[in-house]
Symmetry: C2
């Protein structure tokens, strides 16, 4: 058994799940691409759902820890903190664009593993966004607005390039794995924060102007 | 053969492709749900790729005609025209939320039919967005910006609720098929148009103030 077999299996699974979909990929296909036998996959991941769960967990463990780290800077202001989150999450997705693509696509299916991911990682993600938005309202940095609707918009902007990689390449000629993309698109999301989230903030009664 | 068999087959296919994915659905499953035999499906759609192509074509024919209709109002201004497009496209997606969800998910796969849809309908979609943005720059209504990057943002906002229906329901408790959602979310996209697209428009040299 090769020492890095586990890594090779994960790499092959990400590639195949990404291009053929989870349902369209067999354990045999993965074994073939990773150049291992199916028993090695069974040893490390039990079965195909086990491999998908590993991909999800691997992706969201790091994703949530980026959010936690960024949230630690909340005392420097909610807008600063949100911008730091956006930098880190966009960078993380760009660095792991294949994994991000397949995770986001498979999250749209209704399955046991998806429900588990939602009730753990995605609730945590919502919790951190919520904390930042609430601080932003409280500190008069953000225009008061429905938090779920803000999350829809921000996640829409963050996820779009990774949910539609073929469209990005073939129709728009934009390549999300190039550094140029990350810098340019970051400015666009920051503009959303500055212009739609932070403009026209009503002055609170008795608010202290800092 | 039932008179409305074709309709029943399409309805069943949309439901199953949506919840189990295209690869996770068999012609037998569809026949079972539509209460027809597999020969009837073969008669109308030849095979499973034929059924998926029908779903795509059905969705994008109407989608593009909404864009064409909205573009006819370009003489009333680029911002007005874009807002009309957004109203119509959001409404169309809300009315066909199951179909929109499955089409958007399957568009993320790399297949022959997806490439064909991209080189026809999605190029047309890009063409209309491009026309509106170019008029908006020319008429000093929109802040000059990269058109592909504007399309990424606008499509991200428009598609997000339909690409992540389980997440919307289970995590955010937002229901994209309710009329309340459509009205509320429309305001958010309009805010993006007003605040990030139409603010800080530099005055052109020699521009005529209307």
């Amino acid at each position: 058994m090769k020492k890095n077999a586990k890594e090779e299996i994960v790499k092959a699974a990400i590639t195949l799940f990404k291009s053929n979909g989870y349902s369209g990929t067999s354990i045999r296909d993965i074994a073939g691409l990773a150049k291992v036998n199916t028993a090695t996959i069974a040893y490390h991941f039990e079965n195909k759902p086990g491999l998908l769960e590993y991909c999800f967990t691997n992706f969201f463990e790091q994703y949530i820890s980026k959010m936690e780290e960024a949230y630690a800077s909340i005392d420097k202001g909610a807008k600063n903190c949100l911008k730091r989150m956006v930098v880190d999450l966009l960078h993380y997705q760009c660095e792991n664009s294949k994994l991000a693509s397949l995770v986001y696509r498979e999250m749209s299916m209704d399955s046991q593993v998806v429900r588990e991911i939602m009730s753990t990682y995605l609730l945590k993600e919502k919790y951190y966004f919520q904390l930042v938005f609430e601080r932003g309202f409280e500190w008069n940095e953000f225009r008061p607005h429905s938090i779920p609707y803000l999350i829809i918009q921000l996640k829409g902007l963050l996820m779009m390039p990774f949910m539609n990689t073929h469209y990005m390449r073939e129709v728009l000629y934009v390549f999300p794995n190039e550094p140029f993309f990350e810098q340019k698109y970051l400015k666009d999301i920051n503009l959303w924060i500055d212009k739609t989230l932070c403009s026209d903030v009503p002055m609170k009664m008795g608010a202290v102007i800092k």
